[in-house]
Symmetry: C2
Subunit: 83 residues, 2 copies
């Protein structure tokens, strides 16, 4: 993978993680509560919010659902915050 691609990859995952974290905090949820709602472990939520996970489509959709959000909006935020 070229350095530029690697950077882009990190940037996208981090942008998505930031979008998830922002929504979660807006809704006064802890990582644990979000994890329960999305049937994911709290440590997985931590990793996602840090941009360390390349999630699958259906897992992203489950997180969006748990946050009463459209996944498309969260992705748009991730794409917009790309460096």
């Amino acid at each position: 993978m070229r350095k530029k691609d690697q950077k882009r990859k990190n940037s996208l995952l981090q942008g998505f993680g930031a979008a998830i974290r922002n929504r979660r905090i807006e809704q006064n949820m802890t990582q644990e509560e979000l994890g329960e709602a999305a049937q994911l472990h709290r440590t997985y939520i931590t990793d996602v919010e840090s941009g360390l996970r390349n999630l699958s489509f259906l897992t992203m959709e489950r997180l969006a659902d748990a946050l009463d959000s459209q996944l498309a909006d969260l992705i748009a935020e991730a794409e917009a915050t790309e460096i």
Copy 2:
């Protein structure tokens, strides 16, 4: 997984597959050409378009890039076509 969730899952993946197929055809690309542009095998593209693959975020992004599209738009189409 409950039946309702299973249905939803299939519906989302199929919606995404249809969005990919539509964009590809609009751009007069074959599955083979899209595969080359996104560094994926032609048979993988076939599966994605049929809703048989739960792709990762970065693979979805690569497909969107290869189609000169925003991933958020493709996801919005998938979410809108949910039954």
